[in-house]
Symmetry: C2
Subunit: 362 residues, 2 copies
């Protein structure tokens, strides 16, 4: 299987996303992208025993020394204290402003390491090496970093673009099936919002994707990254079009918060969020393709993801919407896909939020 390379065009902050069979070649790519002779390798205690030695070997082959910093694994550690400890660790390891931080892991590792890189010495170069499907197609590309706050997910952080993203498909082999499946939730979202052809292709590939077939995953990761790269290049800091990437996330985030983080995986919540938001949009008369909710539900099910949300408390859902980062003043702006591959931003008065929640919990 050959490497696929996608460019993220952000002027002087442009970079490449390499979708590669494995970690071989990572070191050379880091050397090329950053010129570094040493890096801080940030990973977690689940990924470290599986892949850290291989990543370090590839770096060493390219003449790059690494200091390893290991975080506790899991979304429940994506908070201020883990970030602060990581910043301490980076400073203790003697980084200077040219020392790249290489994040080897899923979205939690990438987001925490990314924000630590953004803020230690006011900014170190960043390399993302995502080892989950979710991180490959979504969180590792586009520069969003940060941690969760008692008031909501990802409420503290920075936009900090990486110099390189290296997605090694072989690392998906050690990913639990449920997590791989959850990643497919973001894949469905990406196709749905912007690429009708990819949505149709996912319907064909669904059995292969559900089985974790590397060729199918490689094809889909590269296409999702290309879509995300294009959207991010158009609107780096989410002033406009980038907001379409949040499809499924308004209901999805609220669901995660209301059920307590960890009940659903993020990708599962996004898939359920897509279904909820599409159903609401049909009720509102916004859809141009009336069967879209059923079509997405079918695809989500074929990919092995849950299609029925666990019962959630309406007032907890409402409270989560109140702190949504996409709300301004008295309005919440919600990306709604109106036809396969076509999404628009719908602005909703805050007074209508209880109604929105009611439609989700019906």
């Amino acid at each position: 299987m050959a490497r696929r390379v996608v460019s993220v065009a952000l002027a002087e902050r442009s970079y490449e996303v390499v979708v590669a069979p494995g970690l071989e070649g990572l070191g050379e790519a880091v050397a090329h992208a950053t010129g570094a002779r040493r890096v801080a390798l940030v990973t977690d205690d689940v990924v470290a025993p599986l892949w850290a030695v291989q990543a370090e070997a590839s770096l060493a082959e390219a003449g790059i020394a690494s200091t390893r910093l290991t975080l506790p694994a899991g979304e429940e550690h994506k908070h201020l204290q883990t970030w602060a400890t990581l910043v301490d660790g980076l400073l203790a390891s003697g980084v200077d402003r040219r020392t790249p931080v290489v994040a080897l892991g899923g979205g939690v590792v990438g987001d925490l390491a990314g924000f630590a890189a953004a803020s230690a010495l006011r900014g170190l170069p960043m390399v993302q090496v995502p080892t989950t499907l979710l991180a490959m197609v979504d969180s590792s590309v586009g520069g969003k970093t940060g941690f969760n706050h008692a008031r909501g997910k990802n409420l503290v952080g920075a936009f900090h673009q990486p110099r390189l993203v290296w997605a090694a498909l072989e690392t998906l082999a050690t990913l639990p099936a449920r997590e791989r499946g959850a990643g497919l939730g973001e894949v469905v979202k990406t196709a749905l919002i912007a690429d009708a052809a990819l949505l149709a292709r996912l319907e064909v590939l669904a059995p292969a994707l559900a089985a974790g077939e590397p060729d199918a995953l490689g094809e889909v990761v590269a296409r999702c990254v290309a879509i995300k790269a294009e959207v991010v290049a158009e609107d780096e800091r989410e002033g406009g079009r980038r907001a379409i990437l949040n499809a499924g996330h308004t209901a999805g985030h609220a669901l995660e918060a209301a059920l307590g983080y960890g009940t659903l995986l993020h990708g599962e919540a996004v898939a359920l969020g897509l279904i909820a938001e599409l159903s609401w949009a049909r009720d509102e008369g916004l859809l141009e393709e009336a069967d879209l909710p059923e079509r997405v539900t079918r695809l989500v099910g074929a990919l092995g993801l849950p299609v029925v949300a666990p019962a959630a408390d309406a007032s907890a859902l409402g409270a989560a919407l109140e702190v949504d980062k996409k709300s301004y003043g008295n309005r919440l702006t919600l990306p709604i896909t109106v036809a396969a591959g076509r999404t628009r931003l719908v602005s909703l008065a805050r007074a209508r939020l209880p109604e929105l929640v009611a439609s989700w919990t019906a």
Copy 2:
């Protein structure tokens, strides 16, 4: 006294620095620069009773509501916990991505509020309203934000440019004389590195400046801001020329760290740092104007600042240099003024640091 306006040219991040007699007009300027109808006003418990009501009145006159958040005053609070509490306060107050953070206070307030604005919801608009001379001529302009770390000053933070800086000269009237004097340390630095005419002018104005005469202060603040604006516009993220603004700061920061923060005010440390670095530069044969150390020492003294550093421990000074943000790999890069208004970057092998420290402690 009329307002003086200096533009900081940073493409889509450009903004104006207004040097005004007082806080009157602040609200209108905030409305113009940000379009906001409400702001979070961050101040400290020393500045709040002196100026917060006036600032809020000016904002209210322009139709802007403010929520006040008050920090404990003092450099010793410029750390992670104060920042985290401030971020909590901003989120609790219901900010959205368009809610500006207005920092009313000295450098500590501006740096903490600036980094909180940079990271809450991944970035809120920022307005700096400096109330100390040091903050007016230096820290409020240029976007550097952050907090101190056990390993050194300002080691954690972000570059986050304000939308507006409003320097109200009347606020200097309530500044303790020693703090106003310390601010003159950064004024001397700014003139020395880039503007021989301003250096000569400072020699003329020294008695008026030492006495806190508003006209003299206004003239000097506007000229220092113009110099800083030009340097920052050329090199926003300190990849090159901006480093000249760190003149005096290598020795100055080391001195502050070695003596324990709080012994010297930052501006005093910078003035002493300039003298130490110039003396070393002369010993190295780098100076083109041999009398520069004496000239600067005379001016610093005439401004009422200390010209002899308290005795500091050499090993503590050396340790502080080891974590200097300006050190890369085996070299430390040090801006050295070789003639009035002309500064170059001198790269020093790490092995020579003990020698450098020895020259300062001689």
